[in-house]
Every structure is written in C-alpha cells, then in structure tokens.
Subunit: 155 residues, 2 copies
C-alpha cells in the first residue's frame, strides 16, 4: 500500500471542487476523498473513518466529519437516512441522488433518470421555488428479497 491514493484522489472530482473553493488538499483530506470516490458512495462517517485509517493511519474521526461537512456545504454530498437500522449516512453525486433502498437487506441501488429531474424541476418552478438539488428515495424490496421470503441475503 503506497501513497498512490494522493495522486488518484487529487485528480478526482471532489478534490478539484475543494481546491476551487479554496480548501487545501492535505493528506488526511485526500484519504477521505479517495474513500468516498473509489470505495464508498454511501457510508456512515464511521465507515469512512475505518477505510480511511487503512489508507492514512493517523487519520482522525474529526477530520472525517469536517470533510463531510465541507462536501455537504459544496453540494457534493448530503446526509440521508438509508433504510431502517442505519444511522446517519452520507452520499455523494452531482446534484441528483436517486436511490432504491431495500427494506430487507439494505442494498442501495443508484438510479439515474432524467425524467425525474425534469419533472421535479418543473414542479418546483411552478411553485416559485429555485431548486439546487434533489433527492429521491424509493424504498421497498429488491428483486432478491422478494424471492427470499424470510432471511435477508448478504447484509
């Protein structure tokens, strides 16, 4: 495990946005961005921290929270409750976050659908609301868990 993550993260979309906004690209910060971009799109701060420590051992939990806050402020992440048991989760994407969340196994599937975006925007416009982003979550049963009546599969 070398320091490749620095170069990889530095070239990423998130790092670029932070830099543009005037934030410094430090080692710990890049480790967090690397985790979010390459490993975990949807994760709790704790999970991000655990993965981050594997990359940058001195990483502190505070830095994870701080970085997630910055990303949220820049509109690159957002807090959400995904599924039942999960605590505070954060996700990232452009300005659209569309998810299918399985009630049984907790699996999260990303969906990208322009029609929803259009519909939501026209809806907001009709009410004089200026949208910055949007979040759609459909919860229910994934294909796997519909077949399997009792026990959840993986997670």
């Amino acid at each position: 495990m070398t320091d490749d993550y620095v170069e990889i993260a530095r070239q990423g979309r998130l790092a670029s946005a932070l830099h543009t906004a005037g934030y410094k690209l430090t080692g710990p910060r890049l480790a967090v961005l690397y985790v979010l971009e390459m490993e975990l799109c949807h994760a709790s701060p704790q999970e991000v921290y655990e993965r981050g420590v594997a990359i940058y051992p001195a990483l502190g939990l505070s830095t994870v929270y701080r970085t997630l806050d910055i990303l949220t402020e820049l509109g690159l992440a957002r807090p959400a409750y995904l599924g039942d048991a999960s605590q505070r989760f954060t996700v990232h994407h452009d300005q659209r976050h569309y998810h299918l969340v399985c009630d049984a196994c907790g699996a999260i599937t990303d969906v990208d659908e322009d029609r929803i975006t259009e519909l939501a925007c026209s809806l907001a416009a009709g009410l004089g609301f200026k949208p910055r982003g949007q979040y759609l979550e459909i919860y229910g049963l994934c294909q796997h868990c519909q077949a399997q009546p009792a026990r959840p599969p993986v997670n």
Copy 2:
C-alpha cells in the same frame, strides 16, 4: 387546556392505524399523535417532546422515541434530514413524502404530485424492485429567500 386532545387524537388517522395494529391507545401516546397530526408534520423527537409535554405534562422522552419508532414501522412516518442545520427529523404521510426544503430559511413545503409517483413506480418496476413507499426532497431557495439576498426571514 382540557383533555380534548384524547378524543381528537383518538379519532385521527394515526391512532386508528395503531389500534388496528394492536397497539394500546394510552394518554402519552395519544398526546404524541396529537402533536404529530395537529401541530408538527415535520419535527425532531425533541420538538415533539416539548409540544407533547405541554399537553401531557408527565410525558417522557422515551415514549416519544418509542411512538415514532412504531409509526415508522407502520410506514406512517420516516426519518429524514430536512435542510442543513436540522438534526434527525421525522415526518408523516401516507406512503409518499414530497418536500421542497429551503436552504436559507428551512421552510418545508409539502407537495403532492401523482406524476412523480407514477414515474418512480414505473422506474422501480423496470428494475425488478417492489416499492413500498417513496421520498422526494427538492432543496434550494423558496420564493421568499430568492428575493431576500442576505438574511433568512423567520426561520
């Protein structure tokens, strides 16, 4: 302030659902349901508690959490992050929760739009997903805050 809340809450949609599911309709529980139904559609447990105590002084915070859990389990409420500063919030409605959330003042506007429901359902169906409910949040600036460049209005 009499005990009218008992009769009012007892006749509500939430109380009826709890009763059908076999839960007892107790004083503390009805106070929470009253608050949720008549006063606060979108609220943190703490806020529900504060209002609830005004109605039923002996109310405990545990009961608020427990009642919100039951409502969530029955699909009548759901946890969500609404806006920036807010902590864990819960909302209630049938199975559809569509919100416009203002980034500046935190105002939450409910939206009811069949087209979104249809679109989301057809989307899910195409992926073999069986939807139980859905949640859409559009965040941005409300009409008021677009005009007012600096300071948020009420809250």
